[in-house]
Amino acid sequence: MALAEAFPAPPRASLRAQILPIGIFLALAILPLVAPATGVGYLVSLGARIMIFAIAAVALDLLLGYGGLISFGHAAFIGLGAYAVGILAAHGFTDMLIALPAALAISALYAFLTGIVCLRTKGVYFIMITLAFGQMVYFTASSLAPYGGDDGLTIAARSTLLGFPLLKNDRALYYVVLLCLLGSYLFCRALVASRFGRVLRGAKENAVRMETVGFDVYRFQLTGYVIAGALAGLSGFMLANATEFVSPAYMSWQRSGELIVMVLLGGLGTLNGAIIGTAAYLLTEEWLSGYTESWKVIFGPVLVLVVLFARGGLIGLASALTRRLGRG
């Protein structure tokens, strides 16, 4: 039918197109093995942190890059996932067979309930209302006095699997996070290439046309919004376990802004770009904050320059460079 012609599935995985993701995941897989040789002690935990945010960024790219839905409240879902872990742990439920489904369910449910309202609006209104719902969770968490309020909540121990302390070791946590990122990435790729993904992309190009063809765009977008929310909840579950601490700061609107920046920095609508952008952002933060406390004074203008001169983010920049080199 027309849909398949208008949005053909990406050509079956030419090997060249796969080099980048395979390279990314191979590099991530061997990082803990080479980390001791570099002498940088925190490399494994930094890598885990990057991958945790990359899970949320990949999910956000699904909305931004493929759905054309500029969600400015994505950090709220991370926070909800993290608070699910923290609050359950405070009541003695530390098994991930309880905490993980709870984290996914609460973030998916919140995405569903807010999505019903948000997706009725378009454009700027959508940005603002997702932002407002994000703030709502932020302020709610800040006023949760029994769970630390503004100061946040320390988690006594990382989640266990049927009583076995699977995440206790930093390296084990790293590989579990890697598996989660790989799973999320492959899931999103399959989703984007599927009929569902094509409807989503079609609605981004022209929602009215998709409606006319007979698709209930609202339902597809709502489903996408819930999926992205749940994946961010997964990221929050991992974040809470990695830091053994949850705080309202996880879901401030600046966090949501940073997530958007991560996706754009890498390259919108590529999924690979979300991972690269997250790594670039957090590594730059790590690097610059080593020199000066006010590293954002440097980083802010860099973002402006990227918007002005590097359209398509790092991936766009790289492919433009290779094209130029290829031309000789």
Binding site: V124, Y125, I127, A132, F139, L144, I260, L264, V304
Partner: protein, 307 residues
């Protein structure tokens, strides 16, 4: 919940509403006329306050500081428009978000580098620093009344400007259909620049006026920015009238909610849970209000964009 407290909090709510209007007026025009998402509007408010503190340090006079800071805020806004925003009007919203987010990072941490992270304060003019007795047992600071009055004056001036002058007509036309205005031979870029500069100055003015009451610190623009967004979305993007009504509504709902949520909930759920749930409900109130408004009217109460 005495009447005195109710009156005082209502006045405080009005004052917050007027302040939000000063910020939201520029923001809603920039959104409506240029379809530009300016997250950096909040830091303009912050910058106004910092500039006023700096100029007060030099001149020692509040009025001189006010005038100089307004001029400097305007100049800085025009510089930003010229250097960055002008290149982005044709881009999509995501590019606006990222660029203006970069500007927020730069300015928030820039002022921290220059003036330090510790909160500063701006003394208010001596003559207006007292309190006035409005009724028996009802004393209210003069400066807050000054803020309310100046906000209402600005609102009236804006109304005349937008509804009864040629430039205002162009602004309204631009908010309805910018492409058509441009096709009719109006220099839309210059119109954009005027609107932008004016909006920046209003935000700066709000920052200066509130500085004697609040502390001037690097994050002060961020909270206010989100509230201003809520205001313009409820009011309808591009509509000054909508921004005014929504600003007063939000100011009142937020202030009264925060002061009375616990009292209202106490008889329903008992004192101890009320003390926990009350503040949470109070801080969620305006966002719930926004959700309800947008659910019923997805383009706000007074949408300017005609189709």
């Amino acid at each position: 919940m005495s009447t005195t407290l109710l009156v005082v909090q209502t006045l405080n709510g009005l004052q917050l509403g007027v302040l939000l209007f000063l910020i939201a007026a520029g923001l809603t025009l920039v959104f409506g006329v240029m379809d530009f998402i300016n997250l950096a509007h909040g830091v303009q408010y912050m910058l106004g306050a910092y500039l006023a503190v700096a100029f007060y340090g030099v001149t020692g006079s509040f009025v001189a500081a006010l005038v100089l800071a307004l001029a400097a805020a305007l100049a800085f806004g025009l510089l930003l428009e010229f250097a960055v925003f002008r290149q982005l009007y044709d881009r999509d919203h995501l590019d606006h978000v990222m660029a203006t987010f970069g500007i927020i990072l730069f300015l928030n941490h820039g002022v921290k580098m220059i003036w330090g992270a510790a909160p500063l304060s701006l003394p208010m003019p001596e003559a207006l620093s007292g309190s006035v007795r409005l009724a028996d047992g009802l004393i209210y600071p003069v400066w807050r009344l000054v803020i309310i009055a100046s906000g209402l004056i600005v609102a009236a001036l804006l109304y005349v400007l937008v509804a009864h002058t040629r430039i205002g007509m162009l602004v309204r036309a631009g908010a309805t259909n910018a492409a058509m205005v441009s096709a009719l031979g109006v220099n839309i870029r210059r119109l954009f620049m005027i609107v932008f500069g004016f909006g920046t100055m209003l935000a700066g003015f709000a920052g200066i006026m509130i500085a004697p009451i609040l502390s001037v610190d690097p994050g002060m623009g961020d909270t206010v920015l989100i509230l201003a967004f809520v205001v313009i979305v409820i009011g309808g993007i591009g509509s000054i009238r909508g921004a005014f009504l929504a600003a007063l509504l939000i100011g009142l709902v937020d202030t009264l909610g925060r002061s009375f949520a616990v009292d209202i909930l106490r008889p329903i759920m008992g004192p101890s849970p009320a003390r926990t749930v009350g503040p949470a409900v109070a801080s969620m109130l305006i966002y719930l209000l926004m959700a309800v408004v947008l659910y019923l009217r997805p383009t706000g109460l007074f949408p300017a964009k005609g189709r």
